[in-house]
């Protein structure tokens, strides 16, 4: 995993975003360099998925500038979408399609040539142990199988930037280990990866840089080691707790138990 010194793949400059007059991102700025694996952390509602959706060209920023692979968003959203792979946090799929059909649709929309597409689908399905289920409808797939299809669809067109929003959700242990290895291999091959997750030890293992967003603000940006050193904490989980005030959840737990007994 190397942090390249060429032009950044992603530039977020003072990005603002609001839902229904509620500002969820307040002037967030950061860059991602080629070949970096960056972890994006934050509590629920902090703005992680919104950040990723803006980067994927799905949402328009309310202010600031965003460029991805040198292209401005949202003006060049279609071109950006050709260059990125995105695994959304919720497995939104067309459930009446089969796994094979969904991957074909995704690949064809990205303009992958038919021969290459079929070869890649074959390889992906085999790697993810989905070959025997390729002709089954997606509504018969388990949560983990659906997640594998989403990951395969995100990689089919060989994107430069890969955005992973909770990619290990629903995956079994073997598949999760395989995805972690895959992330490392992709980064070694020069891909840039933004990895959003609540599983902090995985982020600590696979990412060479961590961004922490809290209440719409970027409150930390650095390697796991540098963050531990600056906060004088021993683990990334402790860093996260101290920066986001997660320690204050215990009274809430007591309140829930008390309310259930009342």
């Amino acid at each position: 995993m190397s942090t390249g010194e060429s032009a950044p793949i992603v530039e977020f400059d003072r990005v603002v975003f609001s839902y229904n007059y509620t500002e969820v991102l307040h002037e967030v700025s950061f860059t991602l360099a080629k070949g970096e694996v960056v972890g994006l952390l934050g509590p629920n509602g902090a703005g992680k998925s919104t950040t990723i959706k803006i980067m994927a060209g799905i949402l328009s920023p309310g202010g600031g500038t965003v460029t991805v692979t040198g292209l401005p968003l949202p003006e060049r959203a279609v071109d950006v979408k050709l260059r990125i792979g995105y695994v959304p946090e919720t497995a939104m799929l067309f459930d009446s399609l089969t796994g094979q059909e969904f991957l074909e649709l995704s690949g064809r929309l990205h303009g992958v040539e038919e021969d290459a597409l079929q070869a890649r689908i074959e390889a992906m399905l085999e790697t993810f142990n989905l070959l025997s289920d390729r002709s089954s409808r997606l509504d018969s797939y388990s949560k983990g199988m659906r997640q594998k299809i989403l990951i395969a669809a995100a990689l089919l067109h060989n994107p430069e930037l890969i955005l992973l929003d909770e990619p290990l959700s629903g995956l079994d242990v073997n598949a999760a280990i395989m995805i972690k290895d895959l992330i490392a291999a992709l980064a070694a091959g020069g891909k840039t990866i933004l990895y959003s997750s609540h599983v902090l030890d995985v982020v600590e293992k696979v990412c060479n840089r961590v961004l922490i967003i809290h209440q719409g603000k970027l409150i930390a940006d650095g390697s796991a080691e540098s963050l531990k050193a600056s906060t004088k904490e021993s683990t990334l989980e402790d860093v996260f707790r101290s920066l986001t005030g997660a320690a204050s959840v215990d009274p809430g737990v007591a309140r829930i138990v008390a309310a259930m007994a009342s």
């Binding site: 839902y19 229904n20 949202p74 279609v78 979408k81 995105y86 939104m92 064809r108 929309l109 990205h110």
Partner: protein
């Protein structure tokens, strides 16, 4: 038929058509990929909320409209009108029905793009996506325009039209339908461009009301037009009028073109905001007193759950509100009539608008009850699978309580208060009792039309297209009941009193029986749901 279909497909996907699409800013390859995808999803019953994607619903609507236009042709051929009047009558009907259906379908496609969430991160530009999305409007035209105009086009030959009249008639109807379809898309293009995403769904519904209410307003605005003395300030020479016409047409064409352009811009970039857009309004936590009373008298917390669930969802469910929109012209019309004629007592011996009022409740329930099971948030109905068996009856009673208290009892209390002042106590009390009994009987009978848990099924796409003929049929039945009531009943207050008592008893018995049937329907549908849980999860959005 198959060779013709293959040939049409080959021409449409051929290089010439692709060049034409490219000239319009549409990526032909992705356009056909999306068109095939939507067709495939519809064939597998995943994308069912669009009329144009549902061949069964289109055929049903087509046959109903065909029967209606056949009857109209029969009447007009018997009257033997001038050919221009004959053509204008059917084009007017086509314009009226198509504007309602297409406006609603365009709105459902563009401001409720459920499948857009799956495709939002795919490299598709707005023009290509909206073009593929709106091809189903063309299918609606291809089915419904011939259904409405096929028989009338041939019928024209019976009133002395030349041999080519059927072609002329159908051509004019298709051209009109095409203009309406483009105008509907353009109108939503303007809305999407200028209305914030969080208000788009509400704005779309307001826009859908416009063609229907404009029709009713036009019906009732002749006096106003006469009052304005338009001929005095309008130019009289033909050349000036022609230029004004051309100018208006040019402005309209520009507005349509710009509206379509608005649709094709960054539509897919904003689709997440559009699909997930909500008003942002926060409901205050309320503990309704009526809910407490319903819990006490209709069967406990489960009854209160039914009462409050239906009350809230009726106000907030986007698909339900959308399906109720065609009712609005009737409401406007009745309000207009009521405002002009309610001061005369129904016992005065003359016919008044109040004689119709009790039967309007019947028509209202006739529309509401069958539609009540369809909603946007039907996937949340898994919750009812967890309800204990004993909660179903009180839950059904709670739903009935909302319909009866809010739609029957409340308006009658208002009516009584107002009528006492104008008609006197005896007439007011007698008529209110009679009207409430009739309305309760209608509700008691039509409760059987609620086929399952309210808001637990995906919306039925044929609803909009067949509602108008159904309302016409219901109107004819109600007119018969009003005539019987006027000539046989309202001659004697004693007869009205006896009838009101009899109807109340009938309403009680009908409600008891229908509540049992309703609870059984809920149980049956929950059983189906648990046996085949897939429909809950298969449809996107």
């Amino acid at each position: 038929m198959k060779p013709l279909r293959d040939w049409t497909g080959a021409v449409l996907r051929g290089p010439a058509a692709c060049r034409l699409l490219a000239r319009m800013g549409i990526d032909a390859r992705r356009f056909w990929l999306l068109t095939d995808l939507f067709g495939q999803l519809a064939a597998r019953r995943e994308l069912m909320s669009n009329l144009g994607h549902n061949a069964t619903a289109l055929r049903t609507s087509g046959w109903i409209l065909c029967a209606m236009s056949g009857l109209m042709t029969l009447v007009l051929v018997t009257v033997h009108p001038h050919l221009a009047t004959y053509l204008a009558a059917f084009l007017g009907l086509t314009g009226f029905l198509m504007s309602g259906v297409l406006f609603s379908e365009a709105g459902n496609s563009l401001v409720n793009p459920v499948e857009g969430l799956v495709l939002a991160h795919q490299p598709i530009d707005g023009a290509t996506y909206t073009a593929a999305k709106l091809t189903h409007l063309a299918r609606i035209l291809l089915y419904l325009v011939p259904a409405l105009n096929g028989i009338p086009a041939l019928g024209g030959l019976l009133i002395g039209a030349p041999w080519y009249y059927p072609l002329l008639h159908l051509g004019a109807a298709f051209a009109l339908g095409g203009v309406i379809a483009l105008s509907c898309c353009a109108a939503f293009g303007w809305l999407i461009r200028f209305v914030p995403a969080r208000r788009l769904k509400a704005a779309g519904q307001v826009a859908e009301v416009v063609p229907w209410t404009a029709f009713v307003m036009f019906q009732n605005s002749r006096g106003l037009l006469r009052h304005l003395h338009m001929p005095h300030w309008m130019p009289t020479d033909t050349a000036t009028l022609a230029w004004i016409g051309v100018a208006i047409a040019a402005v309209a064409a520009c507005a349509v073109a710009m509206g379509l352009r608005c649709l094709s811009g960054d539509y897919l970039v904003r689709i997440s905001a559009i699909a997930g857009g909500s008003s942002g309004a926060k409901a205050k936590p309320r503990h309704s007193r009526t809910g407490g009373l319903v819990a006490r008298y209709f069967g406990g917390p489960a009854a209160r759950a039914g009462f409050e669930f239906v009350g809230r969802m009726l106000r907030r469910d986007w698909q339900f509100r959308r399906q109720m929109i065609p009712m609005l012209p009737a409401v406007v019309w009745v309000s207009y009539m009521a405002a002009s004629g309610w001061r005369t007592s129904p016992f005065s011996g003359t016919f008044t608008v109040m004689h119709v009022a009790p039967h309007l409740f019947g028509m209202l329930f006739f529309v509401i009850c069958p539609l009540l099971v369809y909603g946007s948030d039907y996937k949340g109905s898994w919750l009812f699978l967890l309800a204990p068996g004993g909660a179903i009856e009180p839950f059904a009673r709670g739903i009935y309580a909302w319909l009866w208290l809010r739609i029957v009892v409340t308006p009658h209390i208002v009516l009584l208060a107002a009528a006492v002042w104008v008609w006197g106590i005896r007439d007011a009390a007698l008529f209110t009792a009679y009207s409430a009994a009739v309305a309760s009987l209608y509700l008691g009978l039509e409760l059987r039309l609620i086929d399952g848990v309210p808001f637990s099924k995906p919306p039925k796409p044929s609803g909009q297209a067949i509602l108008f003929p159904i309302m016409m049929g219901g109107g004819i039945v109600a007119a018969g009941a009003v005539a019987v009531q006027h000539f046989l009943l309202f001659r004697s207050p004693a007869a009205v009193l006896v009838t009101a008592v009899a109807l109340s008893a009938g309403a009680y018995a009908a409600t008891r029986s229908s509540l049992d049937a309703f609870a059984t329907a809920i149980r049956f549908n929950l059983g189906l749901m648990s046996a085949e849980a897939k429909p809950l999860y298969t449809e996107v959005g």
